[in-house]
Every structure is written in structure tokens, then in C-alpha cells.
Symmetry: C2
Subunit: 330 residues, 2 copies
Amino acid sequence: MKKNELEIVKEIRNRFFFPESLGIGIGDDSALIKLKNPALLTTDLMIEGVHFDFAYTSFYHLGFKIVSINVSDIYATGGDFKGFLFSAGLPETISDEELKDLFDGIDKALSYYDGYLIGGDLSRSEKVVLSGVALGECDKPVLRKGAEPGDTIFITSPTGLSSAGLSLLKSFSEEEKSLIKKIKDFDNFNELNDKFGSSINELIERHLMPKARNPHKFRKIAKAMMDISDGLLIDLYRLCEESDVGAEIYLDKLPVISSILKTAEYLNTDPMNFVLSGGEDYELLVISAEDKAIEFGLIPIGKIVETKGIYLLDPLKGKISAKPEGWQHF
Amino acid sequence: MKKNELEIVKEIRNRFFFPESLGIGIGDDSALIKLKNPALLTTDLMIEGVHFDFAYTSFYHLGFKIVSINVSDIYATGGDFKGFLFSAGLPETISDEELKDLFDGIDKALSYYDGYLIGGDLSRSEKVVLSGVALGECDKPVLRKGAEPGDTIFITSPTGLSSAGLSLLKSFSEEEKSLIKKIKDFDNFNELNDKFGSSINELIERHLMPKARNPHKFRKIAKAMMDISDGLLIDLYRLCEESDVGAEIYLDKLPVISSILKTAEYLNTDPMNFVLSGGEDYELLVISAEDKAIEFGLIPIGKIVETKGIYLLDPLKGKISAKPEGWQHF
């Protein structure tokens, strides 16, 4: 990198606008934001070699994703996203173009979520380390606590797309990986269609550039909520622990999309591993007592029950106690 | 480490109390805090090999310092500190005791600053990476902008202690370093007194466990403020850039404490390098038009002037244009 820290910060300040009516953005010791409601705060790390691999991940993807995974936690609490703080540890070898790509991805995501960059920190680091902080606000938070026996368990989308995408990415040749790394617009990517068809795009996009699910239409009917970041089973288990209840999932109602079936076949693995235990979908688990949740496109997959634990109801095999499995960081 | 992520998070939740009247702390997708005034937010990274060296730094020191350097930015904006989010990338080799030490240090600092741990993220990482986020609140922020010609430049303490401490630490033998690493209470450390005297304690403490300076007594008379994290000259230069002014520092008024003089002599270097360009003091630069600033213990060191640039006024050599030097991260 040719630029020094002062120059980089100056460029970032010029690029990322923050309206004075909202407060004070980048450039002072701390940012100031006026909120109408209580503040919501969350932070998430992404570390090279643990959370991503530069063989197929670009700085643009990373910029977009570090925003999404943090916004997802604000949305999962039923909040509105307002501002983002971004810190990065970057190797001295990073090029000016890569640095631009990183902030292009952040910019793209902030436009998508309608929020502002308000601060951050830059440092040298051997490996790339990204830390995001999302600030939101919320009148009535929806917590993990609040689910009661009889409530319906909904998801905002089929699950497993991100982990199926990740498994595909890992299986790719170096040449295929470097094609993926160049994608900025997944809708118009078709260079691997001959081999895989276009349906893998949604899997790879969900892994590299997930979009957090905004609950503003249905948060009023949600009794409990959280995002599916570590896997459906383990996240449902956590929600149930907080609510002091159990859950039954109807396996025949759990959506398994065709691109996951194809991927599982191609990789010779069980598609249910992706659907039940795959992480990083950044969709929402929504617990509601109201049937009209379906009107908002929410997908019912089971019921909250009194007996603690997570149970899978298989039309053929009956009731199976599920071990919550998913991404644990240690 | 023997514990898994769920167990660690459970322990942290049990340990770090958050009063329900203030909101919702650790354990949900995001934390919720009720504030009376606009929110202040800041974030700072600490990365192994860049910001610290485990030869003489313990996890306890790191826990304390990651809180201090973030709180310092809230104080530097004239704010009150409320909550802290803490993320860490940690190697799998970290012991349960080291992990406890890290959170002991955070706990100690949060008690000192009277704030709460409200969230965070844990991940694996090859090198230790710490990311802190401080949330504060503020009715009337004091910015870097606001200094005007004729104002007096104050500092809240002599500078250069941290960088002199760091230089000393680097010069120590491995045995001396490992003695330092064990210190939790610098007031009662005297194992190196025979060689160095007790005066080095304040330098080493300032480097390993700095205490952010609370401005609540004098923030009303401050027109501009920032913390001295990268060095007196470079930070004053930044404040002046934001205020569109210049500054004159009277070298004969700049305090140089005896432990810095002794250290400079021992290391055969110029003490003014520490005082003018040494980073990480986490004291405050305060610009005020009011003479009574002295009543609050603030030390006048110069004047804001119209001509841009930083000038050193030496009683013998006259006026010297100073190149702002200090810690730049790239």
C-alpha cells in the first residue's frame, strides 16, 4: 500500500457522507449520533483463515459481508439500522486497489441497508482482521426470550444455502475460485453455468455476500427472534434455552431448495447437514403465535413445546432428539 | 483452552452484571441501552506483534488497556462512558487461566470507569486480536474543531511516559520482562528497584495499563479537545487541522518528568522524543480561552495561532517549525 494512514482516513471521510443533522461522523475521537429510541449495539469479527479464504473471497465481498453480519444482529432484535463502525487490521502488502475494493463493498452494503459509516480504526496486521460494529435503535426489542409452548417456529428463507455455497467453493479448482473472486454482481455471473448451471449462484452469493433480513414488516407479531448465523439447530437451541422451552421441527415442512439437493448430490453428502446445521445464512428465526405470519412470506417449520430440547419429527422415523450442532468458534 | 464457546459466553454473562433498568446486556443478538443524551461511539483494535508483545504484557494488562484506550476516546469528546463491547480473536492454545486474566483486566477497568460490558464476539485466531467498542453519551460534545487563535493549549499530564515505558520494556532482559508480566498492582511493585529505582513504575504502568483521563470537571471550559494517543505533536497537528489554525508550543513550559530524564539517559536518547512524539499516553489535549483551566490541574504548554503549522518556541534557539511525528499505523 502506497498511502499512509492520514491519507486513507482523509479519503474515507470524503467518501462516506454523514448528515450533520444526525450528529458527527468520522474524524473526531468518537462519533455522535442522535437517536429517537434506545440504542442497539452489536459487534462481529471476521478473521482470515478462520472466517474466509482469499482463494475465492475478494475484499469487495468482505466489505459487504462485514456490514451484513452486523446489521443482521440489529434486525434480529427487531431494530432499525443506523450506523456502522469498521476496524481493520491489514497487511502492508495490501494494494490500493484492494483497499478501494474493501470500502466499495462496505459502501454498497451501507447503501443497501440505508446506514452510515461513522467511525473505525485501521492497523497493520499479518493476517486480515475485520471488526464491524452496528448501531441501531429500537422501541420494542424482540429478544431470544419470549417463545411459549404452542407458538409456531418460522424461518424467513430456506436454510443451508451459505454452507452449501461454502462447500462448493472449497471443491472448486484454483481457476474456478479465481473466477468467483472477481464477481461483484452475482445476477449476471454465468461463467460456470456449463459445469454447474446457474442455480449455484444463489448459494455462493449467500456465502460471500449475504443480505441481512429486515423484519420491519413482521416484527410486531414476533414474540421471540434471532438470526441464523451458526446453524438452524444450534440457533433454535439457543433461542429455546433463553425462552426456557423446547422445539419440534417438522422435517417434511422444512424447505430444501433444488440447488442444495444438486450440490449435496455433486459433493456426495446429505443435504440435511446444510439445512439443519449449516451456518452463516443470516436469515431470521421468528417465533409467533399468529397464523398471519405466513402473509409476510415467513415459512412455518415447527412448534415451540414445553419439553426442553430440540426434536425432529420425521414422517417415517417419528420423533428424533436432535443434538444441536453448528459453528462453535472454539 | 478446555472450554467451548457456549461455556465461555455463559461464564461471562454470569460475571458481568447489567442492570435491567438500563436495557439488555450480553446474551441476545444485540445489546439495548437507554441513553439520556445522543450516543457516542468509538472503536479501537489491539493486535499481537503490532500493539503489544507477550514477552512483558499479560492478558490482564491487555484486558485493562483495551477498555482504557476506547474510554479515552469517549472522554476526549467530553462524554460520559456507559458500555463496552469486547471482541477477541484468540489462539486455541490460550489457557483457561489466561482467558480469566483477560476478563479480570476488563472487569478491573470497567469498575474503574464505572461502565458495563454489554456484548462482544469470540473467535479463533492465530495471533491475539482484541477489538473494543465504547459507548458513551454526551449532551454537548467537545470536538477537535473549535480552537481559535489566542486560546491556550493545555495537557492533562506530562507526556511521553508510555513511550519511555515501552522503550524501557524493550531494553529489559527476558527475566526482567517476565517479572513485569506478572504485575497487577504497580504501586506495590519493587522487584526492579535495585537496578532502576521505583520511578520507572509510572512509565511502565502508563504503557501497560494506562488510565483514560475523565474531563468532567473541565469539559465546560474546553473549546476543543482530543486524546494524545499517537504523540503530542501529531495529535496537536490533527486538532489544528480540524480547527483550521496553528499552534505554538513553549518548550520551557513543557513538563519533562524526572523518570523520563533518567530513562533517556539510561537509554542514551533524547527525552524530548518521548515528550513530543511518544504515543499512547491517553491523556487529553485541551484548548481553552479561560485561565482558570489551571485550577483543574491542566498544564498550559502553548498558544493557538492563526498561522497554520506546529511551532516549537525554544528560549535559546527561537521558533522552530515542527514536523508532526508520531505513530502512524501504515
